[in-house]
Assembly symmetry: C2
Homo-oligomer: 323 residues x 2
């Protein structure tokens, strides 16, 4: 049995609680939170304060860290890795090298294991980019995201003055995907690969036209895309746009000789982004416990871990059933 | 530089020769063949007899074995692994455990590394089944092959009395794939997943109707499928059906909570099956040389090997660029 602690309980933490119920070789010790434990509505798990985490050290094999990448994980992962094996889903791309270095040092000093930046992107998509590029070095990789809700872009909309609530969908250009798959060579700009669709609830008295203009011209977030803006009521937003679907495609098109075209495609179609991310974290928690048992201390990413470490099934059976 | 020998030179061996030219960190020592070396039309590589392989031991890091699974590899892989690190594409599913055991023992006794059953199925498809099932344990995996030429089924056609030549295409039922992706629960029989299409050249005086009947009722190969048979001239077969396209899809549909559906799809679309398989073998040859340098002796499969071992790029750069 791998004994797991959930640190932080939002959508991702709840997803981990649900995923653990599907994995009979794993058991949940409890949820650890900065909030008052009695205020946290888990689906059955015991809730504890963060202070209680260290007291339960002997009962925990792996901590799955479910905080955010902006402020939680840069501090939490190195800190908790001093005493525990950890998994996180740190996804601030530019800071991954720095985060890895900090966690690696802590893990090696304290003889723990940490697997960082786990999930689907970074994570499974990274794996697929690596496999595809290693197998077909003469080729090109394109990643498409969606259709799905981007939290970052939705947050950007909600920060606009006059906006009460908002949801943003990232939509891949399926026509471009088809063209790439059929072997067309395209010189793609940002605008060609994805569309953005916004559902916005206005505050009373807000100027819809001005807000629309502010959205479509917002640098980094929307200016480089074709963006649709729809104004809806809060009731409509709540009814139609509060699910968290997502997905995407890693498409690698290569050639092995002259005009011999070879296409590798990996696609996820997810009803729930947080529950799927959580399921990836749980599989890597199993790998984490195994690495710790083997005393392979330090920081890892999905790129470093042999596939078999994710499975509860023994090697001989895996060879017999999956090869 | 990883120094590679190609053992056996058919379509797969030629594919390896082509792939090595795309990988600047790898170099080809030569092609080793049971035929008269001067009769082997390589694309530039020196050709040698099998007897010369051992003489060149000090110049070779990895032998890529390009023989067939029926009779070559069961003998060759253990034999050559006595003196060399090896890669093979052994794909007789039922005999993989036995083959692994034989090669593992030889490799451990002789301090060599062998990666067996490499390619796309077994190989990349096996990997994807493992990742998907480990992440979404409550789910179902279906593998679809094609559209592509099945060598085994084409051989079966050519063994029929009265058949001069033949090519068989395996065709996936795309309607079923779409239904599975949209979450339908299906109770699938063999007949539902694939069609078979045969292009057959008759010998003079052969009875077309009798041969058609013999094909569609052939146990194991065709009886369980809906099979179309087309009679064509040798010229038409040569013109339209001598390419070796293939591909397929590993589709895993899972649920993470109640009705939350999550779909993982991995699809290959290959203009040349042997060239793609060869490219996979070459990437794993790189891994093989690395494992040998680390003195991790024994037999491995793709399930045992961390993704980063396939890449010529250093770990820090991989983290920076791919995560």
């Amino acid at each position: 049995m791998t004994r797991v602690a959930i640190v932080g309980y939002g959508n991702l933490g709840r997803g981990v609680e649900r995923s653990l119920k599907q994995n009979p070789d794993m058991t949940l010790v409890g949820v650890f939170t900065r909030r008052a434990p009695e205020s946290v509505a888990t689906e059955g798990a015991a809730a504890y304060t963060m202070d209680e985490l260290l007291q339960k050290k002997s009962e925990i094999d792996v901590c799955i860290l479910c905080g955010g990448s902006a402020t939680d994980l840069p501090v939490q992962t190195p800190e908790i890795t001093k005493n525990f094996n950890t998994i996180d889903s740190f996804d601030t791309h530019a800071n991954i090298p720095e985060h890895f270095a900090a966690v690696d040092q802590t893990a090696k000093e304290n003889q723990t294991v940490s697997i960082i930046s786990t999930g689907w992107d970074p994570g499974l998509f990274s794996l697929n980019r690596l496999y595809a590029q290693s197998i077909l070095p003469k080729g090109e990789t394109n990643t498409f995201w969606g259709k799905g809700v981007s939290q970052g872009h939705s947050d950007a909309l909600r920060r606009i003055k006059g906006v009460a609530d908002a949801v943003q969908y990232t939509i891949p250009n399926t026509e471009i995907i088809q063209k790439l798959k059929s072997g067309e060579k395209l010189d793609l700009e940002t605008r060609d690969k994805h569309f953005r669709e916004c559902f916005v609830v206005l505050q009373d008295g807000a100027d819809a036209e001005a807000i629309k203009e502010e959205i479509v011209t917002m640098p980094n977030y929307f200016a480089d895309y074709d963006t649709d803006v729809h104004f809806v009521s809060q009731a409509e937003l709540n009814r139609d746009h509060k699910a968290m679907p997502h997905g995407g495609t890693v498409l690698h098109t290569g050639t092995t000789h002259e005009k011999t075209k070879q296409v590798i495609e990996y696609t996820l179609q997810l009803d729930s982004n947080p529950e799927f991310t959580a399921s990836v974290l749980v599989a890597y928690a199993r790998a984490c416990a195994r690495l710790a048992k083997e005393k392979q201390f330090g920081a890892f990413t999905v790129l470093d871990i042999a596939p078999k470490y994710l499975s509860p099934i023994d090697d001989a059976t895996l060879r017999k059933e999956l090869l």
